[in-house]
């Protein structure tokens, strides 16, 4: 139990996917200009990441590994992720109109989020078991959501701040992201894995 908790905290804070591993930077910069959209993106990503890491573990362990086809993982995981995203979109559209309106445009965008593929591949490289894979996927997604929402809140404040002209727009966002990444280095001694 403690192992799983440590893995979760470790993935969320210490080995944060965005700020430490530098995965998923594109939605991190892209959809962080408003908190509302950032929250929508976070929920969609959390859902897809957890399911995708679960499924890709199953596909790898029961189909690819016994046949000695591990070199196909990247291709197969892209397939799995695309299917999960499409399927999720259909189910959400059918079951909850409100959730669909909130997540709608973000769901297809997740297919191209490299953090989702990253978490599936890292699960294989780190030789996580079934439960660990799920916890790792969920933790990565929570970490992603955490920094995305925090970053979007900061960017909303920055929009009103008196910023020198050369730093306006994306420049100050990049600097902020860098400072956030530095701040997250403070967690580096928290959990030893």
């Amino acid at each position: 139990m403690t192992d799983y908790l440590l893995l979760l905290v470790g993935t969320v804070l210490v080995n944060n996917f965005v700020l430490v591993k530098f995965l998923g930077l594109c939605p991190f910069m892209g959809v962080s200009s408003r908190t509302e959209t950032a929250i929508g993106m976070s929920f969609a990503t959390t859902f897809v990441m957890t399911i995708a890491s679960l499924l890709s573990y199953i596909v790898n362990t029961y189909i690819l590994a016994p046949l000695g086809l591990e070199y196909l993982t990247t291709m197969m995981f892209i397939l799995v992720i695309a299917v999960v995203v499409q399927f999720t979109e259909m189910v959400v559209h059918k079951t909850s109109a409100n959730l669909y309106r909130l997540l709608g445009i973000f769901l297809p965008l997740i297919t191209t989020n490299c953090a989702v593929l990253g978490v599936a591949l890292l699960n294989i490289y780190d030789q996580h078991n079934f439960l660990e894979s799920i916890v790792y996927g969920f933790g990565a997604a929570v970490g992603f959501s955490l920094v995305l929402i925090m970053f979007s809140a900061m960017r909303e404040k920055l929009a009103n701040a008196d910023i020198p002209k050369p730093f306006k727009g994306s420049a100050i966002a990049m600097i902020t992201a860098g400072l956030m990444s530095l701040a997250f280095m403070g967690f580096s001694g928290l959990v030893k894995l």
Binding site: L72, Q86, M90
Partner: protein
């Protein structure tokens, strides 16, 4: 030989996985097929499709959805009394009186720019929901009569009041016969 076997195996596995996933998605798209709100679609069919936004919604379809969710049915200015009556019939409610943004006269109109007065400010172009106004800064504007839906949104922003709404006269060419609306019954 073994290289060929491995390659074939890889292609087979990837192909069959793709086939399985494709089948799942195909099944899901049938199983989770979403029909649009039938009531909203029926209301949308009644609305005049001017997309003018005078009801406060960004077009006829959003207003139709709002009506299906309980919004007041008397907000469509271009549709006028006829539209309200039709929606009221559909929803099974009493037709409410027209609200204040209605003209009593809702005969079809087309906007016309009095060209001597136009100063070329482009304000009406920005207001037009259907891009039926041609012109650019400090150039005289004009209206493409075929595209104009007669929503009169361009009248308000004009600073020199050079846009007038001209009723379209009914001629044999533009008379809508609607022959299907005349019930044909077999008399005994």
């Amino acid at each position: 030989m073994s290289l060929i076997m491995t390659t074939l195996m890889a292609i087979l596995v990837l192909g069959s996985m793709a086939l399985i996933f494709g089948a799942i998605l195909g099944f899901a798209s049938v199983k989770f097929h979403v029909e649009g709100d039938p009531l909203a679609e029926q209301v949308d069919a009644i609305l005049p499709q001017t997309q003018c936004g005078q009801c406060g919604y960004p077009g006829c379809k959003p207003y139709a959805e709002a009506v299906a969710n309980g919004e007041a049915i008397n907000k469509c200015a271009p549709g006028g009394e006829d539209t309200i009556k039709k929606i009221a019939d559909l929803m099974g409610v009493e037709p409410p009186p027209l609200d204040e943004n209605h003209d009593t006269d809702n005969s079809p109109k087309v906007a016309f720019i009095i060209e001597e007065d136009c100063i070329g400010c482009t304000k009406c172009i920005q207001a037009c929901p259907v891009d039926a106004i041609l012109g650019t800064t400090k150039q005289m504007h004009t209206i493409i009569a075929d595209e104009c839906t007669g929503c009169d949104l361009c009248v308000e922003p004009c600073p020199v009041d050079c846009i007038v709404m001209i009723p379209i006269p009914k001629t044999p060419q533009n008379w809508q016969w609607d022959l299907n609306n005349i019930p044909v019954v077999q008399l005994d």
